[in-house]
Amino acid sequence: MEVLQDLAKTNILKIQNYSILSYHSLTNLARGPRYGQDTLDQMDIIGVGSLPIVLLSGFFIGAVMVLQTGAQFIRFGQASLTGDIVSLALVRELGPSITGLLVAGRCASGIASELGSMQVTEQVDAMRAMGTDPSRKLVTPRVLATLITLPLLTTISVFVGLLGGMVASVLSLRINATTFWERAIKILEFSDIMQGFMKTVVFAFIIATVGCYQGLNVRGGTQGVGRATTQAVVVASVLIIVSDTFLTKIALYLADKLF
């Protein structure tokens, strides 16, 4: 019983600390000092650095979507619907979630290992000892950079995914490229784009805050840094998938009520 109580206390404390870190990461934006250059550096690392994997995976996800769905539509003689389905799936679901998971794998781990290394070598303490708030200097720039770059990366991923889908549909299903592209764009409504955008913003926040939390709470030297890095990817990925379900439900409800 005591073990369970300790476990519950530890986890509640973790949630409390994570919530405080997340809260401060946003409220820091309202008051100085602000670290513009650090934010730009992080945008370069997170955004530009993630571009190659996002482009590559986006293209092939679009293509494989067409191959999978096209085969079914052909059976019913509705191959032209492929563009509609691929477009909706990419904008609403696959674009945000796949990009989110890829960036979580690359950046949540990167943030956790960087901050974790700083933590175990007392660089974070040194920063505090010199009168700098690590939450402002380390957390907020990373959160802001991810919030700005992930929606951009997702937009690029969706666009490249549609290109990949178009190439696959032309080569494999013999659908006219213009037809595919026109249907893919025409089917989209404002609510679809908003749904995708809302998800990317939440996913970006999860990736950055989980990475920062795991990094700043490293215990146990270099082994702890390794553990924190793995934990950051696992927790961020699971949170992305779980929150995706709820966000989809919320987005569908709002689309129904508002649009």
Partner: protein, 278 residues
């Protein structure tokens, strides 16, 4: 070698302790480490914290800089009780304290010059003013040639000296040293101690120095830096001791086991203290 900066140290009022611990307790999940620690360091005084590994020397330094908060008791720095104040207020107080970490804790992605200039950048000092000040401080620690080097290119002793330079760039009235000679060879250790002596005797800083090397404490007590000859020389005269007093605190089992002058420590018949003297 001189060092002049525009920053003026904020010393406490005369007769007021620069650092004061009052019945401070601190524990972690593995148990209570500090069990009611009480002591004070007067202005310009050097307190040498001696103790075995795990007795809480580093914790005392972190409490003095507000990096940790006591579970109970009070910590006063420059007349301010820092035990329960919010982090935002602590950030300001920490600017009055220089902290030299055990392994240097230099920012490994920044050059030596950028590391030393860090606090000045944070304070929004005019960029034209920063470089000369950094160069001057680096000359003080005799590492002017490392300005553009990365910390990974430096030896352990050089990293500690850069850490000292970083701590003194804003001329803080209090400097905390966490085992500054740990793991260094005797000659490099001597260089570090000479630097601490110069800092004390030229600028009159109040220091807490955590160490497990008794010889570091005796060097601080028995040697002084002469600004005229610019040399460190043996001088244990009462005048020198009054100008820059050095006391020893020995930690044991979470409490102050011994507090006194180097002479008191030398003459103590206590078997535990004798173990440090062997």
């Amino acid at each position: 070698m001189s060092l002049s900066t525009t920053a003026t140290p904020t010393f406490p009022a005369v007769g007021q302790a620069a650092i004061e611990f009052n019945n401070v307790r601190l524990g972690f999940s593995e148990g209570e480490i500090l069990r009611g620690v009480t002591f004070s360091a007067q202005e310009r005084e050097t307190l040498v914290l001696l103790g075995e590994t795990g007795t809480g020397k580093t914790l005392l330094l972190k409490l003095a800089s507000g990096l940790l908060r006591p579970d109970s008791g009070r910590v006063r720095v420059i007349g301010k009780d820092i035990s329960g104040i919010p982090e935002s207020e602590l950030l300001g107080i920490r600017r009055e304290i220089g902290f030299v970490f055990q392994e240097g804790a230099l920012f490994d992605s920044l050059t030596v010059g950028e590391n030393v200039a860090y606090r000045l950048h944070e304070d929004g000092v005019d960029p034209d003013e920063i470089e000369p000040r950094v160069s001057e401080v680096l000359r003080f620690v005799e590492l002017a040639h490392t300005f553009d080097s990365l910390p990974s290119d430096l030896s352990g002793g050089m990293r500690r000296r850069v850490s000292i330079a970083r701590a003194l760039i804003t001329r803080p009235p209090i400097v905390l040293y966490d085992s500054p000679t740990a793991g260094l060879d005797p000659i490099t250790s001597q260089t570090i101690i000479s630097l601490i002596l110069r800092l004390r005797d030229v600028y009159g800083v109040t220091s807490l120095l955590a160490t497990h090397r008794l010889q570091d404490g005796f060097a601080l007590a028995n040697f002084h830096f002469d600004p005229r000859s610019k040399k460190v020389r043996r001088d244990s005269s009462p005048e020198s001791s009054r100008a820059a007093p050095t006391r020893f605190l020995v930690l044991r089992a979470g409490k102050i086991y011994f507090e006194g002058s180097p002479d008191d420590l030398m003459k103590s018949p206590d078997p535990y203290l004798q173990r440090f003297l062997i």
